[in-house]
């Protein structure tokens, strides 16, 4: 299915519009411009991947969309409504759920309790219903039978999958992923990509994904946003027109390599600048 048809098929929920977003930090009185004047639009049901060197502000951007941080200028709109803007209140919520880099599964709850946490807490369904749905989702990504285990009992690949399901079961408008596969080895990573895309094909959620891995970005995304090093703004916007469903064979296709060249040209320069400046992630 082509991208536009998919978008039409989706329930057109989860359109993200970032307009002139800017964030200035003030640690100890110094003006640190983390993000300056970012603008881009993610259509409903699309996968947007943001890449850039450490310290380019991509995590700040994600935190702003999620509601953990505020902007100092510009706005972020979700389906037309302003969800973040200068001086607006911080309100994270189940319409935009984050999957965290180091994993945020509650270590003291079992896998199933983690997965059913959202629906049960919001009283959207009874515990039995939530568990049934949770177990079904777990089956879809190959996690049968681990419901009663604790997160420290399972491998990191499994943990990431559980966390993604924990988010998806709440039917969010947009799924935010903060370098979720960063700590995984390359082989597990590629399997994770396939699981993620499978879940995406089933749900067509808008996904906002940040990473520093270019291949991952192009493989997963419909659009790749290349950010500059601090102060971060949008250097390049690459449209990824690879067909869906994606498969690993595309990783060596000519079109993929062309896109990768485009992306590398953008990022490499910024990476060198960031390295020279000794940047550390602010957020």
């Amino acid at each position: 299915m082509s991208f536009s048809k998919r978008v039409a098929a989706a329930n057109s929920q989860g359109e993200l519009h970032v307009e002139h977003a800017g964030k200035i930090y003030d640690p100890e009185g110094a003006n640190v411009i983390a993000v300056s004047d970012c603008t881009f639009k993610v259509p409903a049901g699309g996968i947007c991947v943001v890449v850039g060197p450490s310290g380019c502000g991509k995590t700040t951007l994600l935190n702003t969309i999620a509601g953990f941080d505020s902007l100092t200028s510009g706005t972020v709109r979700l389906d037309g409504e302003v969800i973040a803007g200068a001086n607006s209140a911080l309100q994270p919520g189940p319409d935009r759920i984050v999957v965290f880099q180091q994993g945020a599964l509650f270590p003291w709850k079992t896998v199933l309790d983690n997965v059913t946490y959202g629906p049960v807490r919001q009283k959207k369904m009874s515990r039995k219903e939530a568990e049934a749905r949770g177990l079904a989702l777990m089956d879809k990504v190959g996690l049968t039978g681990i419901g009663k285990k604790f997160p420290s009992d399972i491998s990191s690949g499994m943990q990431r999958r559980v966390e993604i399901i924990r988010a998806l079961i709440n039917d969010p408008k947009i799924l935010l992923l903060d370098e979720p596969f960063r700590a995984l080895d390359a082989l597990t990573k590629s399997v994770m990509h396939e699981y993620l895309l499978e879940l995406y094909d089933l749900s067509h959620k808008t996904i906002f994904f940040i990473t520093h891995d270019l291949e991952e970005a192009i493989f997963l995304g419909d659009m790749v946003v290349v950010m500059t090093t601090r102060p971060g703004f949008v250097k390049k916007l690459i449209n990824v027109d690879l067909p869906r469903p994606r498969n690993y064979k595309m990783l060596t296709s000519p079109r993929f390599l062309e896109l990768k060249r485009e992306a590398v040209e953008g990022v490499h320069e910024e990476a060198l600048k960031a390295f020279a400046a000794g940047e550390r992630e602010l957020a």
Partner: protein
């Protein structure tokens, strides 16, 4: 096979070392080296111990001390755990309540004894109060730091998933701080035992501290050692019990190991 061999080696050396220590002590007393002759020897203490343990006053003293410690510790936990959790969780509450508590904390429980005898005309409450003060601060502090070391992302995650603030307390704050809270409870128990001994020595009637002091006054010195050993055993045992009892609640920590 290697493991059991290692285990045997260590316990063997350990027991041998303890026996040597006791032997050395015995010899020093018998030979009246320096002033060691004035101290009770291990054998004398053992003898006295066997005598004392069968007396009804001993059971009475043990129950009094144990009762006081448990009561004080229980009350201290009831107050200090929630208080510590909230102070650790909410910055405003911390600023409002913590400075006052920090001012009181450096005052050792023993320094409270004269004041305590003053407040509470009866002996019982004054002793329990000292133990309470002793247990209160370690429990409070550990609950507070327990919350503070919970990584932010768990709070973020629960808010993302639609939890209301009171949910966050039960889902994140309490379980996340629990390991530290348990350490605090065990510590508090230890300090409560210290407090009970001091309070009973100075101001109490009945109890193990009182027994030790009384033995000293009556120059029945071996009983002093008996008292010390019993207190140590009870203190150690109660702390260990706390840790064992909480291991089920904390089983998620050792999962996968």
């Amino acid at each position: 096979m290697t493991r059991s061999r290692l285990f045997d080696y260590k316990t063997l050396v350990g027991t041998a070392s303890i026996l040597c220590f006791l032997g050395l002590w015995e010899i020093l007393v018998r030979a009246n080296v320096y002033r060691f002759g004035l101290l009770p020897s291990p054998l004398q203490s053992l003898q006295a111990g066997l005598d004392v343990v069968t007396q009804p006053s001993f059971l009475r003293d043990v129950s009094y001390s144990t009762y006081r410690v448990l009561l004080a510790w229980f009350m201290a936990s009831l107050v200090a755990v929630p208080l510590g959790l909230f102070i650790g969780w909410n910055r405003k509450i911390q600023l409002l309540l913590f400075p006052a508590l920090e001012v009181l904390r450096p005052i050792p429980p023993i320094a409270w004894i004269p004041a305590s005898i003053l407040f509470f005309p009866a002996v019982e409450p004054s002793v329990v109060f000292i133990c309470f003060i002793g247990a209160f601060f370690p429990i409070l502090l550990n609950a507070k730091t327990g919350v503070e070391q919970i990584d932010d992302r768990y709070f973020h995650a629960s808010r993302c998933l639609g939890a209301a603030p009171w949910h966050i307390f039960w889902d994140v704050v309490l379980p996340g701080a629990l390991p530290s809270v348990v350490v605090g409870l065990a510590l508090g128990m230890g300090v409560a035992w210290m407090g009970v001994v001091a309070a009973e020595m100075i101001a109490g009637e009945f109890g193990l501290g009182y027994m030790i002091w009384y033995a000293y006054a009556l120059t029945r010195y071996p009983v002093i050692v008996v008292g010390m050993v019993v207190i140590a055993a009870l203190g150690f045992g109660s702390s260990a019990l706390i840790r064992i009892a909480s291991s089920h609640l904390l089983r998620w920590r050792t999962a996968g190991m």
